[in-house]
């Protein structure tokens, strides 16, 4: 390769490095919020959610870099939902073991409850109460319902995708979605009657 050509390659590579880094960032800006929402639904506090999401993203980056990721970019989201769930389950187990080992279980549990988890949703109105109520209602639902609702509504996943990520059939995913949505409606209706909404 002639000298001037190789120099141009060097210059082009230097430009690419900056652009490529920005691409990860751009992709995360678009898809990160829905993944973080799912991680928050899956974990017990905001820190665990961010850690679970980070570990899932690192696994994706590794597979992409090694060329071992099966599928194209459209397969990233299903992979990440599955991975976030695994990370959350692992974290939950470790946390349970840690809490059992600790002497002051009650104080520890209190500490976990008061951990800041971050708002799940943007405040769409001035007082932001509706977003809080929806978040609270989702938290009160059995996780097997809320995880399907979060993946379906805010993750735009199909029931087939959801079933694969959760290890259940397509029909079970659809059924849980309907039951969960119905339970959510009752909770929000109760809040309306109380005048919270």
């Amino acid at each position: 390769m002639p000298d001037d050509e190789s120099n141009n390659v060097i210059a082009a590579k230097a430009q690419d490095v900056g652009a490529l880094t920005l691409d990860w960032q751009g992709w995360l800006r678009v898809n990160g919020p829905r993944l973080l929402l799912f991680a928050r639904q899956q974990t017990r506090n905001g820190q665990d959610a961010e850690d679970a999401l980070q570990d899932a993203l690192v696994k994706l980056a590794k597979k992409v870099d090694e060329g071992t990721f099966v599928g194209g970019q459209e397969a990233w989201m299903p992979f990440l939902y599955t991975q976030i769930r695994r990370e959350a389950i692992d974290r939950g187990r470790k946390d349970d073991r840690r809490r059992k080992r600790e002497e002051h279980v009650v104080e520890d549990a209190k500490g976990l409850e008061t951990t800041e988890s971050g708002n799940w949703f943007l405040d769409s109105n001035a007082d932001g109460e509706q977003a809080e109520l929806v978040e609270q209602a989702l938290k009160e639902l059995p996780p097997k319902f809320s995880e399907v609702i979060v993946m379906k509504i805010w993750g735009d996943r199909t029931f087939d995708d959801i079933g694969k990520a959760l290890g259940i059939s397509l029909h079970t995913a659809a059924s849980r979605y309907r039951y969960g949505l119905d339970a959510l409606r009752k909770k929000l209706a109760a809040a309306r009657i109380r005048g919270d909404i």
């Binding site: 060097i10 490529l20 995360l28 919020p33 949505l181």
Partner: protein, 170 residues
């Protein structure tokens, strides 16, 4: 699904998930760019590591995964290697890469990683056709602080030198 549930579905879609804060976004991007550090590999191997956002053609490469202990041992052997002296830097930049939060289970965990970059003009060169190029010498120095249990600590620094040629046009 009845109309009431469909209406609720639509209402729920109106609530947008909270965006990731700048700090969280930066942390995620950094972790993705430097996944090898999370695997317990050496600082040298991960210096300047950028995972390319994939294009249509993906290069398949395989990098061996080193255990954290082996990585620390190799890095320890590199201690004491100093930057060459004798040339005064014209540009100095420091990028503080901050704490690395991912690696938690190793006996020694990195608490701070810094990359110092010095670039200096190493003169002019020309090719056989008479075209002139500016030769730039770039010295990168990776520094990592590791901490273990109690007062156990390890500081590692390692230089890396690259040359770049930039075509000069008048």
């Amino acid at each position: 699904m009845d109309s009431e549930l469909k209406q609720l579905e639509e209402e729920l879609r109106g609530f947008a998930p909270s965006p990731m804060s700048g700090d969280v976004l930066a942390r995620m991007v950094e972790a993705m760019d430097r996944w090898e550090e999370a695997e317990g590999e050496t600082v040298e191997e991960t210096s300047g590591k950028v995972v390319p956002f994939p294009r249509e053609e993906k290069s398949s490469s395989w990098r061996p995964m080193w255990a954290a202990a082996a990585a620390v041992a190799v890095l320890g052997a590199a201690m004491g290697v100093l930057l060459p002296e004798g040339e005064s830097p014209q540009v100095t930049a420091m990028s503080n890469l901050g704490p690395v939060p991912v690696l938690r289970q190793a006996s020694l965990v990195p608490v701070n990683v810094q990359r110092k970059v010095r670039s200096m003009d190493a003169g002019m060169v020309s090719n056989k056709d008479g075209m002139e190029y500016q030769l730039i010498r770039v010295v990168r120095q990776e520094e990592a602080d590791f901490k273990g249990g109690g007062d156990v600590g390890l500081k590692i620094s390692r230089p890396k030198v690259d040359y770049y040629v930039v075509p000069v046009s008048y």
